[in-house]
């Protein structure tokens, strides 16, 4: 067998092995960390997973929307006046 093939196989075994070991340790470390965190701060907020796809329903309460519109508008209005 060729020298380079031996090198390649060694890279495969040790490399893939290292990746697996590392990520296994990361699983353990992460789980431990999470468990400690949850003991310290028992009830995480349910909204903490960010929706990436905008799948959240569009039925936000109207008054909140209105508040948002108004606050954005007031902000913009002041910023505009400020620039002059």
């Amino acid at each position: 067998m060729n020298d380079i093939v031996a090198e390649g196989l060694s890279l495969l075994v040790f490399g893939m092995g290292f990746v697996l070991v590392f990520l296994t340790l990361l699983v353990i470390a992460t789980s431990t960390m999470s468990r400690i965190m949850m003991r310290i701060e028992p009830a995480p907020t349910p909204a903490s997973i960010k929706p990436n796809q905008g799948t959240a329903s569009a039925s936000q309460p109207n008054d909140q929307v209105l508040v948002a519109v108004m606050s954005a508008a007031i902000k913009k209005y002041r910023a505009d006046r400020h620039d002059k």
Partner: protein, 433 residues
């Protein structure tokens, strides 16, 4: 009349070589894929355009001052360079070889001689030096990617990391492929080149560029182009493999909803990851260190303006320079080679094997957990290619069961794949760098 003849003799058309025509054509194809097919346009538009610019005859935009002196220099500057390089013949081809092998001090002296004779670094070469030779651009992009990555889904279910690990098998299998082709005499790759090619299978552009800068800089163009092009092919390459390896019943598995993850866990995760890397694989520390830094800026909540800049202005600026720089190495002598063909083939094989490994690991984990806990379709997302691979998993899940939303579950292996390939990169650099 003579002036007209001069213009013509200095024109691009007169000096166009077959290699340049071919490479300009490659640049156009990359632009076509980026613009019409939406193949990773953020990188392939600058790469494609940079490739065209690099191949404009007589412009020398991608050459260093010394290379420009070699190409356009008169007898006088060539004689000076020959003296410096110790070339008796002043033959340009010989001098190029001597220059490539010269120590850094001779290279610096050659550059000063070229500049004294009025030859300067082309602009793309300047960008290449600053962005790629220094190693800065891939690291800054990784910082930005870190600032854009939400590890929530992975923290909710850390075992997903096994899927991200398994998918890296594509990387190492490709290395075997490359050395196998070499052993059979079909190709001629060194172990460093084989390692750099394998990283394409990591489906992570900056990682691939970073590794090939260190292990095989002459293959940078082919590797970067393959990495980004194949990432865009994920929606075509993965589904048949995923369907082949899974049963209808498996594809229908609905996974339980992810637990909510606290802000505090998200803040600690990049620090935990950094420590593991620091203690176990320092060679991966630059890449994953910057990644963790970006992610900490994102999650810590007290430096939002830095996080925002890392995710926008800074990463965009670096992307423009990185893309043009990668484009600048798309020159015929380096790219039009049988090696490139080998890289293109091995790259797609790497993707396919990585996908398969991820799915098979998904099946194994599902079997170990009772057969109804993990939908193996999310295994393919372990190759990274964030977030496209996760979307593919989601799409196939919906095909099998219209109520089966796998996206969030696939994001875990997906971001684990980024970590996995950075670790694989560190291993490569440690073992063969």
């Amino acid at each position: 009349m003579e002036t007209l003849l001069n213009i013509w003799h200095d024109s691009g058309l007169y000096n166009l070589t077959a290699g340049q025509i071919a490479m300009i054509f490659v640049g156009i194809i990359l632009l076509y894929l980026a613009i019409n097919k939406k193949f990773e346009p953020l990188l392939l538009v600058p790469i494609g355009f940079g490739g065209i610019l690099a191949n404009i005859p007589q412009a020398g935009m991608a050459y260093s001052a010394v290379e420009n002196a070699f190409h356009f220099g008169g007898a006088e500057v060539l004689a000076e360079l020959a003296l410096l390089l110790g070339s008796a013949s002043a033959n340009i081809a010989e001098m190029k070889v001597l220059y490539a092998e010269a120590p850094a001090s001779i290279k610096a002296a050659a550059s000063l001689i070229a500049q004294d004779s009025g030859y300067n670094n082309g602009m793309l070469y300047n960008f290449y030096s600053i962005a790629i030779l220094s190693g800065a651009a891939p690291l800054l992009i990784f910082m930005g990617v870190g600032a854009m990555t939400d590890f929530g889904p992975l923290l909710a279910n850390p075992r997903m990391m096994f899927l991200g690990a398994a998918a890296q098998f594509g990387i190492f299998a490709t290395v075997i492929g490359a050395v196998g082709l070499t052993a059979m005499g079909v190709m001629d790759f060194s172990i460093q080149e084989a390692a750099a090619i394998g990283i394409i299978g990591g489906a992570d552009g900056p990682t691939a560029i970073w590794v090939s800068t260190m292990l095989a800089p002459h293959l940078l163009g082919a590797i970067a182009v393959s990495a980004y092009a194949y990432m865009a092919l994920v929606p075509m390459v993965q589904p048949p493999i995923m369907r082949l390896l899974t049963t209808e019943r498996e594809r229908k598995i609905v996974m339980s909803q992810l637990r909510p993850v606290s802000k505090r866990e998200k803040i600690f995760f990049p620090i935990v990851l950094l420590f593991l890397v620091a203690f176990l694989l320092p060679a991966a520390a630059p890449l994953l260190g910057m990644f963790c830094f970006g992610n900490l800026m994102r999650e810590c909540g007290v430096v939002d303006r830095l996080s925002d800049t890392a995710q926008n202005a800074l990463i965009n600026i670096v992307t423009i320079f990185l893309g043009l720089s990668v484009g600048s190495v798309l020159i015929a002598e380096k790219f039009l080679d049988v090696q490139t063909l080998g890289i293109m083939i091995l790259g797609i094989v790497a993707f396919a094997i990585g996908t398969a490994s991820g799915v098979i690991m998904g099946k194994i984990m599902n079997w170990m957990m009772g057969g109804n806990a993990i939908n193996p379709l999310i295994g393919s997302a372990g190759v990274s290619a964030v977030p496209m691979a996760a979307r593919v998993s989601n799409k196939l899940g919906l095909e099998a069961n219209p109520q089966n939303f796998l996206l969030m579950h696939a994001m875990g292996p997906n971001v684990a794949g980024v970590i996995g390939s950075a670790i694989a990169a560190g291993v490569m650099i440690k073992f063969v760098g």
